[in-house]
């Protein structure tokens, strides 16, 4: 059997990459996807721990996370569409009207 810590390492790597994606990509859709990636990394860790502690709670959490992710995507994409309508761009750097 592969040790769970390996999965966790993968989870860390994926999470880090996801975070990196949020920070360096300007395309709102890609940023969004990176967030999904981070969620996935977390889900992976959940499942791995579920396995470790021989409990279904972790898996059930993944289930809930997916639901939330689905809702988030629905609203998030709607937002992006709405923003695009007014700004005609999905470049997050264009959305700097809150500049201090």
């Amino acid at each position: 059997m592969v040790p769970v810590s390996y999965y966790l390492v993968v989870s860390v790597i994926l999470f880090t990459l996801g975070a990196l994606g949020v920070l360096i990509r300007r395309n709102a859709l890609v940023v969004f996807m990176s967030i999904e990636l981070m969620l996935n990394a977390a889900n992976l860790a959940f499942v791995a721990f579920s396995r470790t502690f021989n409990s279904y709670d972790g898996q059930l959490f993944v289930f809930f996370v997916m639901t939330v992710a689905a809702a988030e995507v629905a609203v998030g994409l709607a937002l992006i569409v709405a923003i695009f309508r007014s700004k005609h761009s999905i470049d997050v750097d264009q959305l700097s009207s809150l500049k201090g």
Partner: protein, 707 residues
């Protein structure tokens, strides 16, 4: 000479508080239910109260005959603090009982007289409700005077001393809403106030003397003071001198001596019985009693004796000169009283205590007689005025002015004879009471202080003169006013007490006749009679048992001569209505001074009263109100505070506090936000970066601190 209280057993000594309680009970009865008793009842209660005191005094004499050393009766504690012990203690000795006798005896007679006098007086003044008040005050006076003469300490004496001052104030101001002529005015109440305040000046001296006694002798009880007085005199003679001088101030106030005599003439504003009782017979002699009582102190200081005797003698002469220039029948008697008090003070001042007391007693008789007779004359005038046919009662009519009188021996014969007896007694004509007592004073003065003798002798001459003048003006000649012509004799309730007094004025001299010396022997138990060794003139060696024929002869001749001169001036050619006094024609400016009391009142008014009023007004208005209350408060305290607050607000608050607390932090915040503003660039990604920085940092911190 300490008395033990056990000696009082079986005697009447224990009754002595009743000389005070009796009049107090009388006044309380009249105060509470007097309004229901009617005039007769009120008068009877008051006279009975005074009479009871007289009875108690007689009982004391009986006791004293058995126990001549006397007794003290303690009623209650008064002021006890530390070593200060003042009690309500009565003292019975020959001196105090003598005074009790005079006060209650003359007092009772005057009470009875007043029943009649006030009955008419309140009707002439149209205020019958005040009848009761008069007797309440009169009883109050008797009570206070009894405290004065029977107290065993200077402080209890002082209680009576001020108490009689109060009674005097109330009675002088009895007709407080008018002047002596019955017009609405502050005049009578001013006279009352003047009397009280002048007396207070005297009391001030008395107080200082009492305080000095306490701190030097350890007590104000007579016996304790006298026990230490010799010892203190040896170490600190100045103490004795000052005490005597302070006491003299008190004496001057109460017994109307120079310089505080000014209140007594004004005190004639009171009803005539008051003038007789308080301002002639009793209260004003309190000073004489005080000096006699303080004999052990006075005899220790020759200077003190000299001063007192001189003050008395000067007063005697000075007042006599003024008396000769007065027109008001009572004013003449008032100045005469001052003059006679001068005789007494001079006597006790030079150590002739018995002579002083003797004169005090005889004077009480004949001066009360004179005043009451004068009151009878005045009421007679009032009655006459009342019965005038035209009934014009609103004209200003002075029933006491001698210029309105004349020829009254026909309309008021009883009063005339009584007045004559009083006059002869006062003038010192043999064998009336005044002769014996005045002679004794002159004799002693001739022995001790020659200058006092000369002053007194001249005063005696003036005395006879002004009394003669009065007799001629009032009773002889023709009536100068219709009222005098219609005057009516007074009722028996007034004349009977006068007859008693007349009898006493005639026979009073028997109290201390030469060779017999009843009074001297009597008082010897209390007052040590001091034999003087002064420079005795050769002609005095002929003195026989206390009667020097030369002194007696000279004074008698002088008195007769004075009466003769007065007859020449006033009796031979009686005054006509509106005529100028013959004396004035002879001695214009001098008489002007006599007539106007030598302007002493005006001088006092100018020097003291006006100055004090000015000072008080200046202090009150300028200093206290305008300066201290207004200016200082507004300009220094309030304005100072306002200035201070402005300083705080403008300089401190805006200049320092505001800068430190708000401006500097604002500047810092502005600068900082200017810089930090750059962070707020609006880029979501950069915010996300910040979040990640936070995440990394917090995570790093947790990891580093993980156990």
């Amino acid at each position: 000479m300490f008395f033990s209280e056990t000696s009082t057993s079986g005697l009447f000594f224990n009754l002595v508080p009743w000389i005070v309680f009796a009049p107090v009970v009388g006044l309380l009865i009249n105060l509470i239910i007097g309004s229901k008793l009617g005039e007769k009842g009120v008068g009877a209660i008051a006279s009975l109260a005074s009479g009871s005191a007289f009875v108690v005094a007689i009982l004391q004499i009986i006791s004293l005959n058995a126990h001549p050393e006397g007794a003290v009766v303690k009623v209650a504690e008064w002021i006890h603090i530390g070593n200060l012990a003042i009690d309500w203690t009565f003292r019975i000795d020959t001196l105090s009982v003598t005074m009790m006798m005079v006060v209650s005896g003359v007092g009772t007679l005057i009470h009875i007289y007043a029943i009649g006098y006030m009955h008419e007086d309140v009707r002439f003044k149209h205020d019958e409700g005040r009848y009761r008040r008069f007797f309440i005050f009169l009883n109050l006076f008797i009570a206070a005077m009894m405290i004065l003469v029977s107290g065993n300490s200077y402080m209890m004496l002082f209680v009576g001393w001020e108490g009689v001052g109060l009674a005097s104030f109330l009675l002088i101001g009895f007709w407080y809403d008018m002047d002596t002529l019955g017009r609405p005015s502050f005049a009578n109440s001013n006279a009352a106030k003047k009397a009280f305040i002048t007396n207070r000046v005297g009391d001030f001296g008395f107080l200082l003397a009492a305080m000095m006694m306490f701190w030097k002798f350890g007590s104000t009880d007579f016996d304790l003071v006298f026990a230490k007085v010799v010892e203190v005199a040896a170490h600190e003679p100045w103490v004795i001198l000052w005490i005597t001088i302070f006491l003299l101030v008190g004496v001057a106030g109460k017994s109307a001596q120079i310089p505080l005599y000014v209140w007594l003439p004004d005190a004639m504003a009171g009803p005539t019985p008051v003038s007789a009782l308080i301002h002639a017979a009793t209260m004003v002699t309190a000073g004489v009693y005080l000096v006699t009582r303080s004999a052990p102190i006075y005899t220790l200081s020759h200077d003190a004796q000299y001063i007192v005797a001189t003050v008395g003698a000067v007063t005697a002469l000075f007042a006599a000169t003024i008396a000769a220039g007065q027109y008001d029948i009572k004013k003449v008697l008032a100045y005469s009283t001052i003059s006679q008090l001068g005789f007494m003070v001079a006597a006790v001042g030079m150590g002739a205590f018995v002579a002083g007391m003797f004169h005090l007693i005889t004077h009480a008789f004949f001066k009360a007689l004179l005043f009451l007779s004068a009151g009878s004359v005045i009421l007679g005038m009032e009655r006459g005025h009342h019965h005038l046919p035209h009934g014009d009662h609103h004209e200003i009519f002075d029933p006491g002015d001698m210029r309105n009188m004349g020829g009254m021996r026909k309309t008021m014969p009883v009063t005339f004879w009584l007045y004559m007896i009083g006059t002869l007694a006062l003038a010192g004509i043999f064998p009336f009471a005044g002769f014996w007592s005045k002679d004794e004073i002159l004799l002693d003065a001739a022995k001790v202080f020659p200058h006092v003798y000369y002053l007194l002798a001249i005063a005696a001459f003036f005395t006879a003169f002004y009394m003669g003048r009065q007799i001629w003006m009032v009773f002889f000649g023709e009536a100068r006013h219709a009222a005098a012509a219609h005057a009516e004799e007074s009722p028996a309730v007034m004349t009977v007490p006068l007859m008693v007094l007349a009898a006493l004025s005639i026979l009073g001299g028997a109290l201390n006749l030469p060779y017999i010396h009843t009074l001297t022997n009597w008082l010897e138990h209390t007052v040590k009679v001091v034999e003087h060794e002064g420079e005795v003139a050769a002609w005095l060696e002929t003195s026989l048992g206390g009667l020097n024929p030369w002194v007696a002869l000279i004074s008698t001749i002088a008195a007769l001569l004075a009466i003769f001169i007065s007859w020449l001036l006033y009796g031979r050619t009686p005054l006509k209505a509106g005529q100028i006094d013959p004396l004035k024609k002879m001695f214009g400016p001098i008489y002007y001074g006599m007539e106007n009391k030598w302007f002493i009142d005006e001088a006092y008014w100018f020097v003291f009263v006006d100055r004090y009023v000015d000072l008080a007004r200046y202090l009150a208005q300028t200093i206290d109100w305008d300066f201290w209350h207004e200016w200082f408060h507004n300009n220094i305290i309030a304005a100072g505070f306002r200035g201070f607050t402005r300083f705080l607000a403008q300089l401190v608050d805006l200049g320092i506090v505001d800068v430190i607390i708000s401006r500097w932090p604002v500047a810092v915040a502005q600068w900082l936000s200017e810089k930090l503003r750059a962070l707020q660039n609006g880029f979501v990604r950069s915010y996300a970066l910040s979040v990640l920085v936070g995440v990394v940092a917090i995570l790093g911190y947790l990891l580093l601190n993980m156990k």
